[in-house]
Subunit: 191 residues, 2 copies
DNA sequence: AGGATCATGTAACCGGTTACATGATTAC
DNA sequence: GTAATCATGTAACCGGTTACATGATCCT
């Protein structure tokens, strides 16, 4: 459901094709909501049927024609009403394959578990440096855009990235704690 | 898919009914993987068809009969092989309704946004105190269980709760930062 | 020669959610 | 009296994933 609202939201910036939306999606919003191309196309045509979007086709010779979607007034209204309607529960329950295995970690060889935690840290550090480079881009943006409305948009994008940044840093600390705790535990029962 | 493995995993502790599994689930693993009763029943019968579980019925007079599931050797093998097979990507992409709205926060009245952040903090603090009470229980457990295998299980349960604890604390700090940043921004452009 | 980019989609599948159905017992 | 607990499930729905289908152009 929310993918549709994300698409409507992006189309408030201007008309776009499904393909373009996918790119904008990946570059901006995917940290918060991911989507595949096939799902985007499917949802766009559903939104058009409901009257929230209109489309016109731009013919091209050597490539497939472009189908450019434009937000209708009805679509804008639906987006705005969704936007102001925050969910009661603000923490979405997370299903996590890695965590599920850690929960049953006592059934695994402890060296294997430690290796997985080390791998976890490496991945988080990679992701962290990605987020940091995005943050730097936004910092540049916010200095360049002296226009008030654009600066406001950047502010909220920065806040979403900051959440990712802070959370990942915490996860690294957590994993380091885990390695320490596990080593400690096995030192006690073996030594 | 992983719900099935969680069920197999819980059944390594001993035979149980679907109803009992639901309770154990909610009290232990639900922070990491949530499940509804209907899904549990559905998956249990699928697992039985595959030969990973066997069941026998315990007749009761005034209540519906109990259907007690037992892990088979095949089921145990499947669980162990899943357990050791960690996913390549250890961070699951999170779809978050709240965050999606914050991303488009520039479209909202800033007082409304601030209120939502305050509500967010209240909810996180409630959840935090819940996690802290669970942590205290586990501390008692780990002191009481001098048996090595039980203490090992508690260790890993503690690690999963600790992740929740640390993450929520960070989210509170983040939300406080957000309120500060938003106030700052609007003070600049209005004042 | 081979892979990325541009550009559109359809169809099957899979796992999680919600609603429906039944019904006695126990605790507040 | 009313809500929770015990105890089982089915069926429909919904949204996300994966695989399939087509095909030219541009870059290395």
């Amino acid at each position: 459901m929310s993918l549709s609202y994300a698409l409507l939201g992006l189309l408030t910036y201007g008309p776009m094709t499904g393909y373009q939306l996918k790119k904008v999606f990946d570059e901006s919003i995917s940290h918060v909501w991911a989507a595949s191309l096939s799902q985007i196309y499917r949802d766009l045509s559903a939104l058009e049927k409901k009257g929230y979007l209109s489309s016109n086709i731009e013919k091209q010779e050597d490539r497939p024609d472009k189908k450019i979607y434009t937000l209708t007034e009805a679509g804008k209204a639906v987006f705005i009403s969704w936007l102001g309607n925050f969910p009661e529960k603000m923490l979405t329950p997370n299903r996590d394959e890695f965590m599920l295995r850690i929960f049953f970690g006592s059934r695994l060889d402890h060296k294997q578990v430690l290796n997985q935690f080390k791998r976890f840290i490496v991945q988080m550090e990679q992701y962290l440096s990605l987020l940091e480079s995005i943050e730097k881009e936004f910092d540049v943006c916010s200095r360049e855009f002296s226009v008030e409305s654009e600066a406001k948009e950047v502010l909220f994008w920065q806040l979403t990235i900051k959440r990712g940044h802070m959370t990942i840093e915490t996860l690294i600390r957590w994993a380091e704690d885990c390695i320490y705790d596990i080593n400690n535990f096995y030192a006690k029962i073996e030594g």
